[in-house]
């Protein structure tokens, strides 16, 4: 299995040099078990680590986004409430015969 290493490595480099990242990943996925055990384990872990970092990034990103969204809604609702109050005051002043008021 290990004697095959140079062949595998050169094939991998050929794909990498073509600039096709997805194909390089696919090559590793298809041939990972043909690499020496130590290398295989390091490649497998790199993929695990990538998946883990992405997942954590998505979880924290989603939580941040949710918090921002809720804050934004709260802010707009407050502005809306202020506007409603202003409208009521304006209406009241008009009914009391006051002049037009910029609230």
């Amino acid at each position: 299995m290990e004697d095959n290493f140079n062949k595998l490595y050169e094939e991998f480099l050929r794909i990498a040099e073509s600039g096709d990242e997805d194909a390089a990943k696919k090559f590793l996925a298809d041939h990972v078990n043909e690499f020496p055990e130590k290398t295989r384990d390091e490649i497998l872990f790199a993929f695990f680590e990538e998946a883990l970092l992405k997942k954590a990034d998505a979880i924290t990103g989603r939580a941040t986004m949710q918090q921002q969204g809720m804050d934004a809604i709260a802010l707009l609702q407050k502005a809306k409430k202020d506007l409603e109050n202003d409208a009521r005051i304006d209406e009241l002043q008009s009914s009391l015969g006051g002049g037009e008021t910029a609230v």
Binding site: E2, F5, N6, Y9, E10, F12, L13, A16, E17, G19, E21, A24, K25, L28, A29, F35, P36, K38, T39, D41, E42, I43, L44, F45, A46, F47, F48, E49, E50, A51, L52, L53, K54, K55, A56, D57, A58, I59, T60, G61, R62, A63, T64, M65, Q66, G69, M70, A72, I73, L75, L76, Q77, A79, K80, L83, D86, D90, E100, A102, V103
Partner: protein, 360 residues
């Protein structure tokens, strides 16, 4: 005699009854353990020349001076700490963790067809120990991410979801456009449509700005003292903007895992692929080949230090050390550059130097 036997038996029974404490090795125990002493040596070497010297001395106990003991013991304490951290995290990597990580990850899913999740978990635990002692910053990054994922699995983010659900329900927020997309049977199209929709809707700052601007307009007077916009109109605008934000929020708790992943990536911007793309370019534009490795060794053979060696044993030791130096160099470069492909490149370069035949 009988008393001695009694004492010994009593001690053995007491030891058996005592709660099991985690066994952490002393320096001499670490050195006696093949696997652990190898890792300790790697940690020392990863430090650079001082560590390398200490590691070499450990291989020849007669060279160890009294002053070295303190240095070695200090490093051993650090080594034990890192091993403990790796072990603690490793114990949490189980079958379920692997299955969870493989969701939406074609590479890991593919491996699960040929390897059991328990087997993968075992490999990852071993790798963790190695990373913990050789690359502290990488280990800390992995640990942090793992804690977040674990927290999610344990329901730590549930409260936030519930808060979002309540806001959506209180405000009767509509997520129908996302639900409509979910009906599309084609997964790729579904994610693509979803991304488009998110792009249009996400951008809370825009909603806030637009919302507050409509308030400003409703409050502002023109030069004749008339209101520039009607309050009713402004209220409608505000509702529209709240709906816009709410649709994204609602979708964040309504959708299934697959679309939720796409949603999160789209909403927050996927940083990792950009980094991955960069490390891929670096790897493919400047890769170590067997030919380059042979050229580097030929250059080393031309050095004065190598030429001064008088026998093959010394030359072989020089070659072994040179190869080790190349391997550490590859690891160091990966640690400095970061990114997925830098790690792959390091793994392959190390294998290349280990496998390649170099003439003395």
């Amino acid at each position: 005699m009988a008393l001695d036997q009694y004492k010994q038996r009593a001690q053995e029974e007491a030891a058996a009854a005592a709660p099991e404490k985690p066994q952490e090795h002393t320096l001499s125990e670490t050195l006696a353990d093949t696997e652990e002493s190898k890792l300790f040596g790697e940690m020392l070497r990863s430090e650079g020349s001082v560590g390398e010297e200490l590691a070499t001395k450990l291989g020849k106990p007669e060279d160890v001076k009294p002053g070295d003991i303190k240095d070695i013991e200090e490093r051993h304490t650090k080594f034990i700490e890192r091993m403990r951290e790796a072990k603690d995290m490793g114990e949490k990597i189980d079958k379920d963790t692997i299955v969870e990580m493989a969701k939406g990850n074609p590479f890991l899913s593919q491996q699960l067809k040929i390897m059991k999740p328990e087997q993968l978990a075992q490999i990852f635990k071993k790798q963790l120990s190695s990373i913990a002692i050789k690359d502290e910053s990488r280990f800390n990054g992995i640990k942090k991410a793992f804690d977040v994922a674990q927290g999610y699995r344990d329901g730590q983010y549930k409260k936030l979801d519930e808060k979002v659900e309540k806001i959506c329900s209180d405000n009767k927020l509509d997520v129908s456009q996302f639900v409509e997309i979910m009906r599309n049977p084609n997964a790729n199209e579904r994610i693509e449509l979803f991304r488009k929709e998110i792009k249009a809707a996400y951008g809370f700052k825009n909603f806030i700005t637009a919302g507050l601007y409509s308030v400003y307009k409703a409050k502002a007077l023109d030069d004749k003292g008339k209101l520039k916009a009607s309050i009713d109109g402004a209220m409608k605008q505000m509702d529209k903007h709240i709906q816009g934000i709410g649709a994204v929020l609602g979708a964040s708790v309504e959708l299934n895992d697959e679309v939720r992943e796409a949603f999160m990536r789209e909403a927050i911007g996927d940083r990792e692929p950009k980094k991955s793309e960069q490390s891929f370019k670096e790897m493919s534009s400047d890769s170590m080949t067997p030919k380059k490795a042979q050229e580097a060794w030929a250059k080393e053979k031309g050095s004065g230090a190598y030429k001064a060696l008088t026998d093959d044993t010394a030359r072989q030791t020089h070659l072994d050390n040179w190869k080790k130096g190349r391997e550490y160099g590859a690891e160091k470069e990966a640690a400095e550059k970061g990114g997925f492909w830098a790690k792959i490149a390091a793994a392959l370069i190390k294998a290349l130097f280990a496998k390649e035949k170099f003439d003395l």
